[in-house]
């Protein structure tokens, strides 16, 4: 009897200790480091952030900005993937790698970025995963709460998005693309519930996100009238790259005639006036190719970081489901492009 009691005491003390080790309380070190941001989003959000695991695939300038932002914010872990060997082009908008690393032939882009990211915040576990994300086991995605792909070919984007959707737990999917001075972010949080705080009263909110494929399948004539021209332009260029077997951004102005033909085909099929996709815009996008404009990387990487923080912490309205920024007009616009709800309960009937 006495022994049993003694044993019980031990385990209860032990489990309490475990809870503390789990990070239920922020350490003094964390409180000091995160002081200013805890004043923005609160301790609970900070705790949730510190238990979040993020995967980033494709380390262009925007992705690097995003990585910096969430490492500083204090996520639990960040895993980065990019097996490319460092070239001068790859460093155009990259502030993590010194230029003499171009000579360092043994290391991949991800490995070199990893070393710098670790320094930003010793409390975040940063690591590299090698290989092709589309080829990894589906279970691999279970390790993450958030997956971000950058400059990802159309088919791979769809594939990775679907892999995220098939997991038991919710794996948030984000894609980001930068072409010169224009950029697009896509968000898929699947079924997402959160508390909306409006002047002292809280109300439950529910959002249903379509997959990338389902979103871009919405007929153009069903879209609201003033949808960003970038949305249409990027779909045409996406189609062009798919047909020609090009990598994202592997374009030049000499591709314009073929792209204009595709524009006509698409607009005819979707009964959209071609003026919604200005030739000048297509030309700019083709000319820019994969070259990034660093101020745009900072802006998109910032918005993306903010969105991930919002979604993880459940604080604030998350973006649904596209975001556009064009340096030419300076507008940062949200577009909700979802299939119309078909069921009586308001869900949209998408798988």
């Amino acid at each position: 009897m006495e022994r049993a009691n003694h044993h019980q005491n031990l385990t209860s003390r032990f489990s309490r200790l475990q809870i503390q080790m789990d990070g239920e309380e922020l350490s003094a070190q964390e409180t000091a480091l995160y002081d200013r941001q805890i004043r923005v989003w609160g301790v609970d959000a900070q705790k949730r952030l510190s238990k979040t695991h993020v995967l980033v695939n494709g380390l262009n300038g925007t992705a690097v900005e995003f990585c910096k932002n969430i490492v500083l914010a204090g996520v639990g872990s960040l895993t980065i993937m990019d097996d490319r060997i460092v070239t001068e082009d790859a460093l155009n908008a990259n502030f993590l790698i010194p230029p003499d690393a171009v000579k360092d032939e043994g290391s991949s882009l991800a490995e070199l970025c990893c070393d710098s990211l670790k320094e930003f915040n010793p409390m975040v576990h940063v690591s590299v995963e090698r290989g092709d994300l589309t080829q990894l086991d589906d279970e691999f995605f279970d390790k993450f709460d958030v997956v971000v792909v950058s400059c990802c070919p159309f088919n791979n984007k769809k594939l990775i998005n679907d892999k995220c959707r098939k997991r038991q737990k919710r794996v948030g999917f984000y894609s980001v693309d930068c072409r010169g001075s224009c950029g697009e972010i896509f968000v898929d949080l699947q079924d997402y519930s959160y508390e909306q705080k409006k002047t002292d009263c809280k109300s439950g909110c529910h959002l249903q996100y379509p997959s990338f494929e389902a979103a871009i399948s919405v007929p153009w004539r069903d879209l609201p009238r003033k949808v960003s021209k970038l949305y249409f332009a990027l779909r045409v260029i996406e189609k062009f790259e798919l047909c020609e077997g090009r990598n994202p951004g592997d374009t030049s102005t000499s591709d314009l005639p073929v792209v204009l033909k595709l524009r006509k085909e698409s607009c005819d099929a979707q009964s959209l006036n071609e003026t919604h996709i200005p030739t000048g815009l297509l030309e700019r996008l083709l000319a820019a190719g994969a070259k990034e404009h660093p101020p745009l990387c900072a802006i998109l990487g910032g918005i993306l970081g903010q969105e991930v923080i919002k979604a993880v912490s459940g604080k604030g309205d998350p973006l649904k489901n596209f975001f556009y920024f064009d340096v030419a007009d300076g507008k940062g616009v949200i577009e909700d492009i979802s299939p119309p709800p078909t069921n009586a309960d308001g869900t949209n009937g998408q798988p």
């Binding site: 309380e25 922020l26 003094a28 409180t31 000091a32 480091l33 002081d35 200013r36 941001q37 805890i38 004043r39 923005v40 989003w41 301790v43 300038g61 900005e65 910096k68 932002n69 500083l72 914010a73 204090g74 460093l91 155009n92 908008a93 990259n94 502030f95 993590l96 790698i97 010194p98 230029p99 320094e119 915040n121 010793p122 000319a287 404009h293 660093p294 101020p295 745009l296 990387c297 900072a298 802006i299 990487g301 910032g302 918005i303 970081g305 903010q306 923080i309 604030g316 309205d317 973006l319 975001f323 920024f325 340096v327 007009d329 300076g330 507008k331 940062g332 616009v333 949200i334 577009e335």
Partner: protein, 517 residues
């Protein structure tokens, strides 16, 4: 593409000045370097603190205490070794940064955190005729504006909200919000106990205007030779939370439409002395920073302490100041990074709040209020820095038709998270950037030149070293390089009324004032 090339060229040739190497500054310096800027000068007087590290990503733990401008430069040169970055670990208000200095730049980019420095840079940019890109962030909100003389409004064309102040009696007698208790604890009690004894302090009023002032004189705050530190702390406690509240209650008029406060005496809250059980802590805490929280075993700064806990912290913090920081007493001013000071102010504010029926707050919250700590995140700073560079490039290309003022919003407005608007025109009656005369209504036969200089020119127009002219006659100027007889003459003028100056100022007189260069 010709236009892209000309843009690249303009960026390469540009010489830019950044003011501020903090939250926005770190992001800005990085984005400028990546964008191809090659000649960047950066001014910041601050040194690096731990709480900067969550967003000022160019800095590491090992840099704490070093110059922000210099460390930022070294960090950026690692990934762009061949550009020129010139750091100045100095105050932008230093005289070396004069109009001539500003004139060498194509554009000035502000990443500042205070009104005063922003106004100063605005005026220098106007005088040097260099366009200014101004910015600011709090939490998820941010803003970028372009100020170009004659083309867009200047930073001061619209009045700016000034820092909040509170009526003295709200602080001394009738607090209704927690912030009032913080101001009392920080500016009155803390200053009275640990600050400069020669400074005026409204806490005196309460201790000497009572009926039995013979007993409760200012000497209450002096420690008697036979008192130990805890006896002294208990005496102060009873005086400020008990006796002073009784005195205030005696004035019935005050409480007609207010909730009456409850006097709090130490014997009600903590009947027994804590005494010597702290002995072991005293040995342990010699090396690390002195803290009442750690001596009492309170760990979480997010917890809201009870009245008893606040009382214990108050006594312990006061005791620790006396025992461990004796030499600081008499010349302390409140510093949000001084743990013991924050603990003391938190506890004192909470005890007062408790007395007045105001909800108590955690040390974390109290520190934010007492230290005017800005809410800051990395992402907003990164976005704002990107927007600054976009506007800076427009300035370099002289593309002023496309200048935009951009708001970074927390909640979308008309689908926009980043909302550009056309910049405002200069305000024609702006006393900073317009030439339009200001009308001053003043009695010229009773107002002295001194009043005009102090109240109007220095206070209202914000010119700290002005030069005032009447036609071609100098009436007054400020400077340490003046000839003795000239200075004496100005001193004489100061005490004359306006109508009796050597060149009289009367109805309809036009005066010109300008910053002395």
């Amino acid at each position: 593409m010709a236009s892209l090339d000309s843009q690249t060229e303009a960026i390469k040739r540009a010489k830019v000045l950044m003011v501020g190497a903090g939250g926005i500054g770190c992001e800005l310096l990085k984005t400028l370097a990546l964008s191809g800027f090659q000649d960047i000068h950066i001014i910041d007087m601050d040194t690096i603190e731990v709480s900067n590290l969550n967003r000022q990503f160019l800095f590491r733990q090992t840099h704490v205490g070093q110059s922000k401008a210099k460390v930022a430069r070294d960090a950026v040169l690692k990934f762009r070794p061949h550009i020129n970055i010139t750091p100045y670990h100095a105050n932008v208000k230093d005289p070396e940064f004069n109009v001539e200095f500003f004139k060498q730049f194509n554009v000035v980019l502000n990443g500042l955190d205070n009104l005063d420095a922003r106004r100063h840079v605005n005026r220098l940019c106007l005088a040097a005729e260099v366009p200014l890109v101004e910015s600011g962030t709090t939490g998820f909100l941010g803003q970028v504006t372009v100020h170009a003389k004659g083309k867009t409004e200047c930073y001061e064309c619209q009045p700016k909200p000034t820092p909040k102040t509170y009526p003295v009696c709200t602080i001394t007698s009738t607090p209704s919000k927690f912030v009032h208790c913080i101001v009392w604890a920080k500016d009155l009690l803390f200053a009275k106990l640990f600050g400069d004894k020669n400074q005026g302090n409204d806490l005196n009023v309460r201790s000497s205007d009572g009926a039995d002032s013979s007993k409760h004189t200012e000497d209450v705050f002096e420690r008697n030779l036979d008192e130990d530190s805890e006896q002294y702390a208990r005496k102060i406690y009873d005086h400020v939370f008990g006796y002073n509240t009784e005195v205030a209650l005696a004035n019935e008029e005050t409480w007609k439409n207010r909730n009456r406060p409850r006097p709090i005496y130490i014997s009600d809250v903590l009947p027994d002395r804590i005494t010597k059980k702290n002995a072991k802590v005293e040995n342990g805490s010699t090396e690390s920073a002195v803290s009442a929280m750690s001596s009492l075993g309170l760990k979480n700064p997010q917890d809201v302490w009870s009245l008893v806990e606040n009382t214990k912290i108050f006594l312990e913090a006061l005791r620790l100041f006396i025992v461990k920081r004796t030499e600081d007493i008499g010349n302390l001013t409140f510093d949000k990074d001084d743990q013991l000071a924050v603990e003391f102010v938190t506890a004192a504010a909470n005890i007062r709040a408790s007395s007045f029926g105001i909800p108590l707050h955690s040390l974390f919250e109290a520190k934010g209020i007492a230290g005017n700590i800005v809410h800051a995140v990395a992402t907003t700073n990164a976005i704002i820095a990107g927007l600054i560079v976009i506007e800076a490039i427009k300035v370099l290309r002289n593309d002023f038709h496309n200048y935009r003022m951009t708001y970074c919003l927390e909640h979308p407005s008309r689908k926009m998270l980043l909302m550009p608007v056309e910049p405002f025109e200069p305000n024609k009656s702006c006393y900073v950037c317009s030439e339009t005369p200001l009308l001053l209504e003043v009695n010229t036969s009773t107002s002295k030149l001194r009043d005009f200089v102090e109240k109007i020119v220095k206070n209202k127009l914000g010119m700290s070293s002005p030069l005032i002219m009447h036609g071609s006659n100098l009436i007054f100027e400020v400077g340490d390089d003046l000839e003795e007889d000239v200075a004496a003459n100005y001193a004489l003028n100061l005490d004359k009324v306006l109508a009796e100056l050597p060149t009289p100022v009367t109805n309809g007189t036009m005066l010109k004032t300008q910053r002395r260069i």
